[in-house]
């Protein structure tokens, strides 16, 4: 575990301990499992966001994707009587298609990721609202969906399925990001796309791949979110969720300049955000301060990280080996 993740884990435990002392209910099994459920829901798409951020891009569209894909998912199930496994596959598939589209616009049309996904944010939301005429979509009173509902939002051995799915997704994506050729390419491109291209890497395909992963994971998260709320009101479903994802990734050590970040960090970042939300409720802080608390903690985290980085850089400057020192001194002199 790198220093950054250890620090984040320490912060998470410290915040948890303090909250637990102030209100022991925080550490009750019920509360912890509720939090685990939310961490699962938010963690899955935050991982996708983090991977896009590692390429030096950003995906602002995930929140609107939830509304758009959620509408599609419920429509398939209720109005078109599509069997639920097919509906889930189609929803995830639709997320992948949107990811491909955005990836192509970013890599082929060379549009800025911020612009592409901002347009996505506006378009998907609009499409969802238009299709439903702004009406809330739900499952009605039938119990045809009990089984799939249980699968998506139920619990086994007391553990929420969303959390189990997050663990599975995180493990898979950990291998992809930290052990696979594709993952190495993502980091290399995030740090220096030009050099990666000169090394024969198909940079466009790799970057587009990151958007595809983000879209696919957003599709998967849609299914969980739909069963979490049991309905989709297209004007508000998933609003601001892209910001939760970006916050989790940044808190977890992803640099918006690209090339930095880890799966463990993103998951810990998600967990910290959810703990903060829970803490606001459980300590009786007015829930209107919810975002403000989150913002403050991220800001303090970023500042602390900066200070630690500078201290480390100074320590290296003082203690570096002579060979490396001489090398560093020359950096300015070479072209």
């Amino acid at each position: 575990m790198a220093k950054k993740e250890l620090g984040l884990l320490g912060l998470l435990l410290a915040v948890g301990a303090i909250t637990g002392v102030l209100n022991p209910r925080f550490l009750s099994a019920v509360n912890l499992l509720d939090m685990a459920n939310l961490i699962g829901l938010f963690g899955i798409f935050s991982i996708g966001e983090g991977i896009v951020i590692i390429t030096g891009g950003i995906d602002l569209s995930v929140g609107s994707m939830f509304a758009f894909l959620g509408v599609i998912f419920i429509d398939l199930l209720t109005n078109h009587s599509v069997p639920w496994p097919a509906a889930i596959l189609l929803t995830v598939g639709a997320g992948i298609v949107l990811g491909v589209l955005q990836g192509v616009l970013v890599t082929r049309a060379k549009l800025q990721p911020f612009v592409v996904t901002l347009c996505g944010l506006l378009i998907y939301r609009g499409a969802a609202r238009y299709y439903t005429e702004d009406a809330t979509m739900g499952f009605g009173y039938g119990d045809d969906y009990d089984w799939v509902g249980w699968l998506a939002s139920g619990r086994s051995w007391g553990i929420p399925h969303s959390f189990i799915l997050l663990v599975v997704v995180a493990l898979a994506m950990w291998v992809v990001l930290h052990r696979s050729v594709f993952g190495r390419y993502l980091f290399a491109i995030g740090k220096n796309e030009e050099a990666a291209r000169f090394a024969g890497i198909r940079t466009n395909a790799v970057v587009a791949g990151a958007y595809v992963i983000s879209g696919g994971l957003a599709g998967l998260a849609t299914v969980l979110l739909v069963f979490y709320t049991n309905s989709v009101s297209p004007s508000s479903f998933g609003n601001f969720y892209e910001l939760y994802a970006i916050a989790a990734a940044v808190l977890g050590g992803c640099s918006l300049r690209g090339g930095e970040g880890s799966i463990l960090g993103i998951v810990l970042g998600t967990a910290l955000l959810q703990v903060l939300q829970n803490l606001v409720n459980i300590l009786g802080i007015p829930s209107s301060l919810n975002f403000a608390v989150m913002g403050t903690v991220i800001l303090v985290g970023a500042l602390a990280d900066r200070v630690l980085q500078q201290r480390r850089a100074r320590a290296v400057a003082h203690a570096g080996t002579p060979e490396l020192r001489a090398g560093t001194a020359q950096v300015g002199e070479t072209r």
Partner: protein
């Protein structure tokens, strides 16, 4: 006017400067030479107040200081013209010259007085003989013109000492000449210039005195009459430079790379035909803008060619991307090492395995042990000086970085390697190692194209020299015909006119 006495600068375990004495008189041009890491930049940073010396005194107009800070240095009229130009290309010339010191009105808004700004910049530009006005956007200027903006900036603070760090590294010959003329004018008006350069011919041309640093000490000084190439090189390396040429052990044979009527996308007016033999080092000379780098980028597939054919070791190849070039065993050691050659923040090992990562992976999962073994092998073969493969490439010196770039390609199966300015910014010792490597590769049957603007290198290293002018090969010289004059004549297109 300015005198540095017994200046030392220590870092833990390293002495960057040790008892350096350096004096400067008004209107004097001093050439400061030395290998990379000799301490030139450190000395100039002390002079500019960017870092304090560990010991010694700085005497400025008779007043002794233990150290200068940036404000003191600026007030004393010490100005830098940086190696990597520090201009704002989103602003115009006048704004750049007075950046941070804009004449402005009173009141809380402190509006910039644009007209006065221009009025003050105009004479500076005239003094330099600039062919652009104060309102020209810097984005429209060439590198040489941007340099004039920096010099104008120095003049605007009434600089008495201008420090120029490798000012001509990106200039054409004509631009270099103009810079040297400007230096002469500065000198005539009493401004002293410290001219740091690896280009000894220019130093010889403009310097009144040469000071050479070596390993943090003054290795020697040369008075105007004593400045010549051999003497400067002797001071820099402490020994005579052996002839650079290493004759091939295996005579070149067969056609390695045959280029026919190639039109680089970046230069549609160009058309290149050239045959490079397998096992030879073909030098490619020419002035900046002749199309040499465009040709390299076309061959490597960075900007796929618009027309023409390439055959490599007898088989025609169609290259549309670096990926395809690499698949054919055609590699490029790019001019811009930091942007195109390396991912500076990644560890050395990962840099080396990047183009061939799949060979170090099982079922698409990277095997770190195989990677480490590869790095260890290449480090031993190339003599890369680094603690281990986990340090980021940014911590290495230029020469070692270049060896890491080479290690990327040598760990694969090269058939042809294009070197674009292979030793730019690299010290003399590392240069020789790279020349030897190039020769070893050629002897092993690799086709080598070496683009270089360094005349000594082109004449010393190549088996044959192709010269480009305006997008065409104007001639190919055999070793008996090698001379600076012949290369230059072809480079300015004179031979074409004669013929």
């Amino acid at each position: 006017m300015l005198e540095l006495v017994k200046i030392g600068r220590r870092y833990p375990g390293v002495v960057a400067l040790d008892g350096v004495d350096f004096a400067l008189a008004p209107g004097e041009v001093v050439g400061l030479i030395g290998e990379n890491g000799a301490g030139k930049s450190t000395l100039m940073k002390i002079l500019g107040g960017i870092i304090p010396p560990s010991e010694g005194t700085i005497r400025l107009d008779g007043v002794a200081h233990a150290a200068l800070d940036v404000t003191q240095a600026t007030r004393a009229g010490i100005a830098f013209v940086h190696q990597e130009l520090e201009v704002f290309d989103n602003l115009d010339v006048a704004a750049n010259v007075f950046i941070g010191r804009e004449p402005c009105g009173f009141g809380p808004l402190r509006l910039v007085r644009t007209r006065e700004l221009e009025r003050r910049v105009q004479p500076l530009l005239e003094r330099l003989g600039a062919d652009f006005g104060p309102r020209t956007p810097v984005a429209e200027l060439s590198i040489a013109q941007r340099q004039m903006v920096e010099i104008a900036k120095a003049l605007s603070i009434d600089a008495r000492v201008i420090i120029m760090d490798e000012p001509t590294s990106s200039l054409t010959l004509a631009e270099t000449d103009r810079l040297l003329r400007i230096i002469a004018e500065l000198k005539a008006s009493g401004v002293a210039v410290i001219y740091i350069s690896h280009r000894l011919a220019e130093v010889k041309q403009c310097a009144d005195r040469v000071v050479c640093l070596r390993d943090g000490r003054v290795a020697g000084e040369l008075a105007r009459a004593a400045i010549d190439h051999a003497a400067m090189i002797r001071l820099m390396i402490g020994r005579d430079l052996r002839s650079l040429y290493i004759p091939p052990r295996v005579p070149p044979h067969a056609e390695g790379c045959v280029i026919r009527n190639l039109v680089p996308a970046a230069m549609p007016e160009a058309e290149v035909s050239l045959t490079i033999r397998k096992g030879e080092i073909m030098g490619l000379a020419g002035l900046v803008g002749a199309g040499r780098t465009s040709l390299a980028r076309a061959l490597f597939g960075v900007d796929p060619p618009r027309g023409g054919t390439i055959a490599l070791h007898g088989t025609p190849v169609h290259i549309r991307s670096p990926r395809e070039a690499i698949a054919h065993g055609l590699y490029l050691v790019p001019e811009d090492r930091k942007r195109e050659g390396l991912v500076l923040d990644l560890p050395l090992t990962q840099n080396v395995t990047l183009p061939n990562l799949r060979a170090f992976a099982r079922r698409l999962l990277v095997d770190p042990h195989a990677e480490a073994a590869c790095f260890a092998r290449e480090r031993a073969r190339l003599g890369i000086r680094a603690a281990d493969g986990s340090v980021p490439a940014v911590t290495l010196s230029g020469g070692n970085q270049q060896k890491v770039v080479l290690a990327k390609w040598l760990s694969m199966q090269p058939r042809m390697i294009i070197f674009d300015e292979p030793t730019r910014g690299i010290d003399v010792g590392a240069k020789e190692e790279i020349y030897r490597l190039m020769r070893d590769l050629a002897d092993a049957g690799v086709t080598i194209l070496m683009i270089s603007s360094d005349m000594e290198e082109v004449l010393g290293v190549s088996d044959r020299i192709a010269v480009m002018h305006a997008g065409r090969i104007t001639g190919v010289l055999e070793r008996p015909d090698f001379s600076e004059l012949n290369v230059l004549r072809l480079a300015i297109g004179a031979a074409a006119e004669v013929a």
